[in-house]
């Protein structure tokens, strides 16, 4: 029998080929974003007016934009910002959401208050709430992260609270209480370790949503300032040239679709694998 849980994890995870493909795609995108200065053929901000709006070709694989900047290089650097913002949103919303979810699920007295705030936030459409928040806070990468974190934290709270409610009733938690284990340890070890799986699944979905939402915000002009190349700002500034130079918007658009789709597929794969009921059915 294979004793290594990590190996087993990946073997289960990649039983479905699509999940493997998505995982590889994500890995490549992230690697390129990390190694952007070495991978990108041009500086993302290098303006070459004579080569503006050139179609994809040998010099510029994915063409150039209205300032003659290389679209491929900008997509790679844009991945840094887009995925970076997405990742930051995931980190912030996971941390805050898990904390409040644990508290709401474990202490019934806090449940009412926390969940009413969560309900109120979730009653508003995601993108509208984000636009409103950025409008109030001002457009900057930091504020986009803040706004999207506020938008997605309630989802995490819900997932964590639901799992906590189940786990707190399990005998091993009762056993810990009977032993006189501190509440802090019960929450941070017994419950947190066991909500990790659903939270991880949620994290991949939020990552995907956040990448999409950032693009949406930037496109609407309520996101990061246009100087910073993100996939969203690329489409936003390129849209007026789209009729003559489809590549200016098509390729950043494809990048968004590819990243978001891969994240969702990986998330689905994780969920199928971590849900014992579904796993049995496989």
């Amino acid at each position: 029998m294979d004793r290594s849980p990590i190996l087993l994890f990946f073997r289960r995870m990649f039983r479905r080929k699509l999940v493997l493909v998505a995982f590889v795609v994500l890995f490549v995108i992230m690697l390129m974003a990390l190694l952007a200065p070495w991978v990108a053929p041009y500086e993302p901000t290098a303006i070459k007016v004579i080569r503006r709006l050139k179609p994809p070709g040998e010099l510029n694989w994915l063409g150039t934009d209205e300032f003659g900047r290389d679209v491929f290089s900008r997509i790679i650097y844009g991945a840094r910002a887009s995925l970076g913002i997405g990742f930051a949103v995931v980190v912030v919303s996971m941390t805050v959401g898990t904390l409040f979810g644990l508290l709401a699920g474990y202490f019934r007295s806090l449940d009412g208050v926390v969940m009413r705030v969560v309900d109120a936030l979730m009653a508003l459409p995601d993108i509208l709430l984000a636009i409103f928040l950025v409008a109030v806070l001002g457009a900057s990468a930091f504020n986009v992260v803040l706004a999207l974190s506020i938008v997605y934290t309630p989802r995490v709270v819900r997932v964590v609270r639901a799992s906590t409610l189940v786990i707190r009733e399990l005998p091993f938690v009762e056993a810990a209480r009977a032993l006189g284990v501190s509440t802090r340890r019960i929450l941070s070890v017994h419950i947190l370790l066991n909500v990790a799986s659903p939270v991880l699944v949620q994290a991949t979905f939020i990552f995907a949503y956040a990448v999409l939402a950032e693009a949406g915000l930037s496109f609407l002009g309520a996101g990061v300032p246009p100087e910073l190349p993100t996939w969203g700002t690329m489409i936003a500034s390129g849209q007026q040239y789209a009729d003559d130079a489809f590549w200016v918007v098509l390729f950043p658009g494809l990048a968004i679709v590819l990243a978001a789709l891969s994240l969702q597929i990986v998330g689905d794969g994780l969920r199928d694998m971590l849900d014992p009921k579904l796993r049995k059915a496989l």
Partner: protein
Amino acid sequence: MDKSPLLSIRDLEVRFRTEEGEVTPVRGVTLSVGAGETVALVGESGSGKSVTSLATMGLLPRPAGRVSGGQILFRKRSGETVDLATLPSSDLRKLRGSEIAMIFQEPMTSLNPVLTVGEQIAESVRLHMSLGHAAALKRAEEMLELVEIPNARRRVHEYPHQMSGGMRQRVMIALAMSCNPSLLIADEPTTALDVTIQAQILVLIERLQKELGMGVLFITHNLGVVAEIADRVTVMYAGQVVETGTVGAIFRTPRHPYTSALLNCLPARAQRGEDGRRVVQSIPGSIGPVGDGCAFAPRCSQAADVCRTGSIMLEAEMERSVRCVRWREAFA
């Protein structure tokens, strides 16, 4: 029994595909159930008794599980004998609703929560008899009376969740009886029930079996229930039948060391030790991976070298059979 038995399972083998490769949870089951007879299939978890019953009913989870060897012969009312293991699934389904009936451990999951119990029984009745809606519902009410549900007229309109576990199991039995089966397969039907309710269900099954002359294959891990209800007993261990005999023979003079050890594990058979304390015997370890020789050998107090090689055959003699090369010496 002069006639061929109602159900005759011969050398059944079932394989399952799993993540870790193929496993063979059933690898040599031979048993028979005659008309009007109750046969208990006994075993602990991992013995393969439930897989055997699922295979008999054609309910192995597909595509992971399949019958890979042996036969499951069933004698139909028409006198024709069919092999359930190779029967097309549509024919099997027809048979399952009419001549073979089943009841399970958890009735709640086998009943449809959005239909009244009356509607569910009526639906089954109409599948097998050409009755109108009202007549079928009337028949459902009679079925509830048959299984001794009080106020059948009123309860026929209730939903499963409005009933207790015991009542739901009665409904399941009514549903199973509605097509007048000749064989009833009962898979741990009383395991989830309280002991006073279990007693009611056991007496009910016994009564129905006598009245309707059904053959009953009763799968259970509870030896008390076996002694209560069975005519004959088949004991399974690690996917194989290790012993078969009448209930009296099995309990009084078990021949397989496993049967004997299992009976001695019962708290009611605890013996007073030297210090005056009552101690039950136990079997060391647990069902392990199957290798060469007798599967029980690693836990057996009587095991010798001959037990650890080759494959051990089921020795049949009169009404009894035992899969042990040393049973004569072991119980001499």
